[in-house]
Each structure stands twice: as structure tokens, then as C-alpha cells.
């Protein structure tokens, strides 16, 4: 993975830069010892590692602004970092860059039930927001599996999803406002406790921008009243095709479940061995369908889904009759990643999205690829919205196996695009999928995205080397190319 060439002058000035940062963030907020820097050398994509030049942990927006202003003036690169759980290397440090950690921004600032929202600092974990309001019967809907660890700022930067986003939307659909600091130190507020933007939806473009547009220092999200009931069905199928048909039939019947997750046989077996959730071991595919809402509604929809499942050749159907049982259904799915981690020394988690009706084609092709590469693969799948998480099993200690796993992964993602899907459904591009962007976008598409980057960060010092395969200078991107041979505006003199 080629990263931007380190700036030798910046590296040679390290001591001076540390001193300058210590003047802004006193005490232990500036980390410069190699031993301590180790903790920041990678994010959740552990195959890529790089020691940052320096780590700084500011505590106030004013400090963030000072740091950025200083770095802007000195030409120093910045990598924002939340909890470091990104699976695409978005928070991967740069050799000549400062990793700006938001870990000390860990307070919930305001719980406002009248306006049904919570304002939090970006380092607060996703789950902590729900925990803060759960006692009053509310929750924050997007629930990435990493929710005990990942930060709300990181969620905004990645536009994270979760098992409930089929019905309740991604981060972008639940976000009301942000405060952020631009690379030149300017503090801007976008949105607030009200809906929609009066002008351009700048908050919308910042959501999912992977730390390339600004450092988020405050987040306001909508909270919802918790549903009065939730029940789940655990359905075993003789083939992933019939499971896919069942998903289509449920949605075709006008039912949008709170969650709808699929696992294939290798994933079922790994999960069962890990948590003993009572999954049907003879099933080729397993579907967990959760219905939530008023009790009468849930009871009725459970019956309807049960019928649809049987019409679609379900081998086994279990319906949860208690919270314990429902949680048990989920236990295996939620532990799927670590469970796969137990049956293989390493695994590589992919994240493409496909149009759902192409599922069986994609799975068949994936089986062929698995044989071709000689690597096993287990699939967990946000079935309702077509977001596929193939887990490629490999052993990093076997020479060449990581490379093989990455190649295999790239093939899968290309396949997703080929069938009408996309490279990443929720984990982001980061460094991992950066060089695959050309599979989905033309040079024109990518340049238009980069011009947006230039509007926010014209010197391109924020998280460079991520998302875009080729770096262009903003001046070059801004140039207008006129096509000669005008015909339709003949009477207008040209300048």
C-alpha cells in the first residue's frame, strides 16, 4: 500500500513540533515515546501498521482548533482518530503525521427529551448514548456490532450502520448536528436540534467523509422511544437461495423487520461452537428476523413471517418467547467475528453490498474463488439491505497468505460492483479499498469528489492517502476545461 511520501523537513523538526503541541495541550496530552505510540499504530485493520510521528489528545474544541491552525501553518498532516475500530484503515497513522485522538472528548453534554436528541462529545461510545437514555425508555438506533467500543465521532466519519438500520437508517439518517474544526482551525457548526439544512447539506457530505474534511468535536443525534416489544425468529434453510427468496418475500409482503440477518453454514458452525446458541447445524443458511413495535403488531407479523418462511422451504423455525431466548438467537450472530477468529489464526472481513436477488450468484462465485485461492470463507450478511460480510480465513504466519487473502477479498468486491452493488456498505474505503475505487467510479466521478475535499481542505493535510487512489493538487482539479466547437450560444461573445 503506497502512502504519500513522508515530508523529510517535517520529520527533522519533530522535537520542535512536540514542544509546540505541548504549549497547546499541556500535561500528558502529547505522546512522543515509541512505546506509547505503539498503541496507535493501527486501527481495526491490523494488517496495516505505521507508527505515528506524534499523538496528541486534546480536551477542548479550542485546543483542536489551535493544533490544526498550527499544523496548517507548518504543513503538517493530521490523522483524526476515534476509538480506532475502523476496519478499513481510516485511522492508519502517517509516518510524518500527527494522530489526533478524540478519546478525551468523552462527555455527554445534553440530553433533551423535549426535542428528542442527545448532544455528545465525539469520543463518547455509541452504546453510551443509548445507556444514558435507556432508563427513560429511549435509545439511539444505529447499532454497529462494535458499539461498546466505537465512538460516535467515528460513526459520523464512517456513516456507520448496524443490524437495525434496515428499519431505522444509518448514522446519516439519525444525525442532527455537528461541530467541527476545519484544517485551518476554523470552527463550524452544521445543523442543530432541528431538521434539514437551510442551504447546502454540508452535514450530509461530512457524514461518511472518513476524517478527510474536518475534525468532528461535537455530535447531536436523534433518540427514539424504545419499541415496546421485540421478538425474533430463527429460521434454518436447506440452501442460501431459499433463504434469499424468503427475504425477498418478506419485503415483498410489505414487512420491514427491525433486523434481518443471514449466516451461511461455515458461519453457523463457527458461531455455534463459540456460544452454543442452539443454531440448526444441518442448515445451509440461517436467517434471524426480528420484529419490533407494539405487541399486537409484533405478534401478527411473527405469524406472517413464519408462514412466508414455510412457503420458502424453511427446515426449521423457532420463535422467541422471552427476552432471554431472543438475545440467545442474536448471541451467535453478534459473536460471529470473534467466533470465526477462533477457528482460524486470522480473518479478513469484507463489506460489499449487492442487490439482494444476486445473492446466490455471488455466493456460488465466492465458493469457486475460495477453491481457487485455497482459503476458506464464512459469510454473515445484513440480508435486508444486501450488505455482505464475507470473512476470509487465513494465517498471517504462512508466507504469502495475507497477500492471497487480500487478492481474494479484492475479487469479491469487484464481483459486488459487477452485479450492481458497491465496494463498501458500512466500513468505509480507508486505505483498504482505496485502490479499488476505480472499479466503481470513473476518473471524472472521483475528481468531482476530490473537489469537495478541496472546498474543505485545500492543502489536503487532513488524512491524506485515504479514500482516493490518486492525489491531485487542488489547483489542478479546479482548472476548467472548455470544449471547443460551441454551437448553441452563437450570439454570446466569448471571453
Amino acid at each position: 500500500m503506497h502512502m504519500p511520501d513522508p515530508d523529510k523537513t517535517v520529520l527533522s523538526r519533530r522535537t520542535e513540533i512536540i514542544a509546540a503541541l505541548r504549549r497547546i495541550v499541556p500535561g500528558e496530552g502529547v505522546i512522543a515515546e515509541e512505546e506509547e505510540l505503539r498503541a496507535y499504530e493501527c486501527d481495526g485493520l491490523t494488517a496495516y501498521r505505521q507508527l505515528p510521528m506524534i499523538v496528541v489528545l486534546p480536551e477542548t474544541t479550542a485546543q483542536v482548533s489551535e493544533i490544526l491552525k498550527y499544523c496548517h501553518g507548518e504543513g503538517i498532516k493530521i490523522v483524526p482518530r476515534g476509538a480506532g475500530t475502523s476496519l478499513s484503515g481510516g485511522a492508519l497513522p502517517l509516518e510524518d503525521g500527527i494522530t489526533l485522538g478524540l478519546g478525551k472528548f468523552n462527555r455527554i453534554l445534553d440530553i433533551d427529551y423535549d426535542n428528542r436528541c442527545v448532544t455528545a462529545q465525539p469520543g463518547v461510545t455509541n452504546l453510551a448514548i443509548t445507556t444514558a437514555v435507556a432508563g427513560d425508555g429511549f435509545y439511539y438506533a444505529p447499532d454497529p456490532s462494535s458499539q461498546i467500543a466505537c465512538s460516535i465521532g467515528g460513526n459520523v466519519a464512517e456513516n456507520s450502520g448496524g443490524v437495525h438500520c434496515l428499519k431505522y437508517g444509518l448514522t446519516a439518517n439519525n444525525l442532527l448536528g455537528v461541530e467541527m474544526v476545519l484544517m485551518d482551525g476554523e470552527v463550524v457548526r452544521l445543523g442543530g436540534k432541528y431538521l434539514d439544512s437551510g442551504g447546502y447539506d454540508l452535514m450530509g457530505i461530512v457524514t461518511g467523509s472518513e476524517g478527510l474534511l474536518g475534525v468532528i468535536t461535537e455530535v447531536t443525534v436523534r433518540i427514539l422511544r424504545s419499541p415496546s416489544t421485540a421478538r425474533a425468529l430463527l429460521i434454518g434453510f436447506p440452501s442460501s437461495e431459499s433463504a434469499g427468496d424468503c427475504v425477498a418475500a418478506i419485503i415483498g409482503a410489505g414487512i420491514i423487520p427491525g433486523g434481518m440477518e443471514m449466516m451461511d453454514k461455515p458461519a453457523i458452525h463457527a458461531a455455534e461452537a463459540f456460544v452454543n446458541a442452539g443454531y440448526p447445524m444441518d442448515a445451509e443458511a440461517l436467517l434471524i428476523v426480528e420484529l419490533d413495535g407494539p405487541e399486537v403488531e409484533v405478534d401478527e407479523l411473527i405469524q406472517r413471517v413464519d408462514m412466508i418462511a414455510r412457503e420458502n422451504t424453511a427446515q426449521s423455525v423457532r420463535i422467541s418467547s422471552s427476552e432471554d431466548e431472543r438475545n440467545n438467537f442474536w448471541a451467535g450472530r453478534k459473536a460471529a467475528f470473534p467466533a470465526v477468529g477462533r477457528i482460524s489464526p486470522d480473518y479478513y472481513c469484507m463489506d460489499g453490498t449487492i442487490p439482494r436477488h444476486r445473492l446466490s450468484d455471488v455466493l456460488t462465485r465466492m465458493t469457486e474463488l475460495s477453491e481457487q485461492y485455497g482459503l476458506r470463507v464464512a459469510n454473515v450478511f445484513h440480508a435486508g439491505d444486501g450488505n455482505l460480510h464475507p470473512l476470509i480465513l487465513y494465517d498471517a504466519n504462512t508466507p504469502g497468505e495475507l497477500d492471497k487473502a487480500e487478492e481474494f477479498g479484492a475479487e469479491i468486491l469487484k464481483l459486488c460492483v459487477e452485479v450492481g452493488g458497491v465496494l463498501t456498505g458500512e466500513h468505509g474505503v480507508g486505505v483498504e479499498k482505496r485502490d479499488l475505487m476505480g472499479e466503481m467510479f470513473t476518473e471524472t466521478d472521483l475528481k468531482q469528489q476530490q473537489r469537495v475535499k478541496c472546498a474543505f481542505d485545500p492543502t489536503q493535510q487532513l488524512n491524506p492517502g485515504k479514500v482516493f487512489p490518486t492525489l491531485h493538487r487542488c489547483a489542478e482539479l479546479g482548472r476548467v476545461h472548455i470544449h471547443e466547437g460551441q454551437t448553441r450560444f452563437p450570439d454570446i461573445p466569448r471571453f
Binding site: 427529551y113 423535549d114 428528542r116 438500520c165 446519516a172 476545519l182 463550524v188 457548526r189 452544521l190 436540534k193 432541528y194 431538521l195 434539514d196 437551510g198 442551504g199 447546502y200 447539506d201 454540508l202 450530509g204 457530505i205 457524514t207 467523509s209 422511544r225 424504545s226 419499541p227 419485503i251 410489505g254 420491514i256 413495535g293 403488531e297 401478527e300 453490498t353 442487490p355 439482494r356 436477488h357 439491505d385 444486501g386 450488505n387 452493488g421 458497491v422 463498501t424 456498505g425 474505503v429 466503481m440 470513473t442 471524472t444 472521483l446 468531482q448 469537495v452 475535499k453 478541496c454 472546498a455 479514500v467 476548467v480 476545461h481 470544449h483 460551441q486 448553441r488 450560444f489 454570446i492
Partner: protein
Amino acid sequence: MSEKFTPQTPKETCEIISDALAAETPIEIFGSGSRRLIGRPLETEYALSTSALKGVNLYEPDELVLRAGSGTPMSQLRMQLDQHGQMLAFEPPDYGPLVGTPADSGSLGGVIAGNLAGPRRIKAGAARDHFLGVDAVSGRGELFKSGGRVVKNVTGYDLCKLMAGSWGTLGVMTDITVKVLPAPEKTRTVLAACVDATTAVSAMTAALSSPHEVSAAAWVPQNIALRSAVSYVSGAGTALVALRVEGIGTSVDARCASLRDELSAFGDVDELHSHNSEAFWEEIRDVRFFADDGGGSSLWRISVPPADAPNLLDGLHKDIDLEAFLDWGGGLIWVRVAQMQDAGSYVIHRTMGGTSGHATLIRGNVYQRTREPVFHPEPVPVARLTRKIKEAFDPKGILNPGRMYEGV
């Protein structure tokens, strides 16, 4: 009258914009023209209508996705969705009649370009939240795409978010992909007498904080309720809070019963069933109560934190002659200002000074739309970003120049 181009294909759209760029000549971009009178007035010699870029070219009900040319009439889309029991869940409103254009003449592109949304906004999101992918021609004369046809997608920047609500100032959208959802089996509305805005917002807050999944919450004062075509509303003889409940039959019945119980603390309750419920929410969605401009009245759409609405309304009532009703549980205030030279702009912005939110002048005469901020003034650093975004898409300022802000 300007010369009008009606490109038949995205490629032709691209050629026209390239020509305009080469000539550095501004060009008005519109769809069907139903919202042409919203925004700051444009004086361009040329115009481009997307009306020929029409037709649904992909609709997969099981996948909840639809792609269509941006000029596709909303009426046609609705028909196709109806056949499959589906809908655009953000309840696209029709503001045509508010500004003197025929009802139901809007296009998909117009709805998206204005990021419009009806009463279900509070539960289902706005146009932006259902906008999955776009093909568009930038002011650089380049055809670009963003997004895709799947809901879960974080590949690259989501330029759809910028296109939604940019009123044709960033690009000419040629193809639009949206998420569609099943239409509810049943709809019902609980009405409760609530004389003043403060009580009304409390009642709506209670309902929206309940587990009853209220999908719309509005308050109409008595004089406005009188104009409703729904007799239960016009004949109620009081100001009303209305709460909509949708879903499967048994669930709707149960939730309505609970809501009636809980609301009786606020005032007398009643219920609207299917047809009446639909008719009433269309009136709210399309702001029909204010369709008549009553001889030069202007119309504002104000989005605020719901809890701030009563105070803001009080403040406005003190200084201007107006009528208002609330949607979005108080978060959206529709204000009709009786004839005033500045459309009430000064007082509205001054009174909003203390709160966050934004006011948009939906109906105003040419003078008002030229002199007053039609779109809410942005703080300096945000305005700077807005300009830079405009430059990123349209460096020569040829697409709907100045429609939102001067120089943008």
C-alpha cells in the same frame, strides 16, 4: 422570455451545459417548472428543462429501489408505486399551487433538488434520506455519478447529499435512484382539542415520545382548521392537534386507543379514519390552507427545535400580522404573513436570532425574493464553505446563479 432547451438524453444535456460553459453564459435549470417561482429570481437568457429526461428505467419492488429520469412526473411515479403498494416514504409535497402553478405537475428531480418532505419527515426522513444515487452534469459540463442502487453504501463521498436541496445550483440531475417503501395497510388520525401552541407542543411531544410510532404530528389553530375540506376538522369548533398512526390494522387500532387515552388529558378527542385521514394530511403536506395568497401575502417555512416553536410563534405574533400552523411535532412552522413590504423578513430573522433553525421564503413577490434572504443567511464560515462547494461544481457560476444566495 428565455430560449429553452429540452435535452432528450444525458449526453445532450452534457453538450448543452458544455456549450453554456464555453460561452460563460448562465442558464436556468428546471424540471416541470412547478417550483420555478421559489428562490431568488433568475434573469437568464437561456433555460434548460429536464422534462424530456423521463421514465422509470428500473423498478424492483422486492429490492425497494426505483430509478427514473429526473424529469419523470411525480404523478406517473405515484401511479407505478401504487400498483405495487409502495410509496416514497418522505411524502413529497406539492407546493405548485402555493406559487400559482398547477397542482400535481412536479417532477422527481424537482422534489429531490428542493429536498422536500411532508409530514412523515419526523419518522421516515426527508428526500435526502431516500436518495441513493444520481447521474448529473456539473457546471463543468461533465457527467458524473455518485451513490448507487443499494441502501447500504459508504463508497466515497455521498454527493447525493449535496445535490438534494441545492435547487439546481450544483448540477443538472439526469437520473435519480431512490429507496421506496411499502405503503402502510391502514392509516388513522387521532384529533385532540388544544387551544394554544404551548399545550399543543406538549401534547405532540408526549405522543412522539410514546412507543406508538406516530408518523405525523400537527397543530392547526381554529381559524385555519375551518378551511379544511375534512368536516371533522372544520366542524370541530376548536384548534386541533392531529396525530397519525399507520401500519397493520390491529396495530393501528391498538395504538389509536392508547393515544386517545393519553391525549384526553389535553382536551376532547376524536378520530379520522382512512379517507379523511389521508385528505387531512394532504392538506398539511401541501399547505393548502395557505394556497390562497389573500392579496399579496407571503409564506415562510421555518424549521426549528420543536420545543422552541411556541415561544417563537408568540414573538412573531407580537410584531406581525400572520397566520401559522405547526407540523413535525412543532419542528416546522408554516407562517403566512399578511401583505408587508419585506414579507416579514426582518421580524422573522430577528425573532429567530435566539434560536437555531432556518426560515425559507416559499412564496414572495419578485421584489421580496430579490431583496430578502429567501434561504436562511449562513454564518460566515459556513457561507464560505457554501461558496467553495458551488465553485467545486460550477466554477463559472452558470447553473441557476444566485437562486439560493447572491453569488452562489
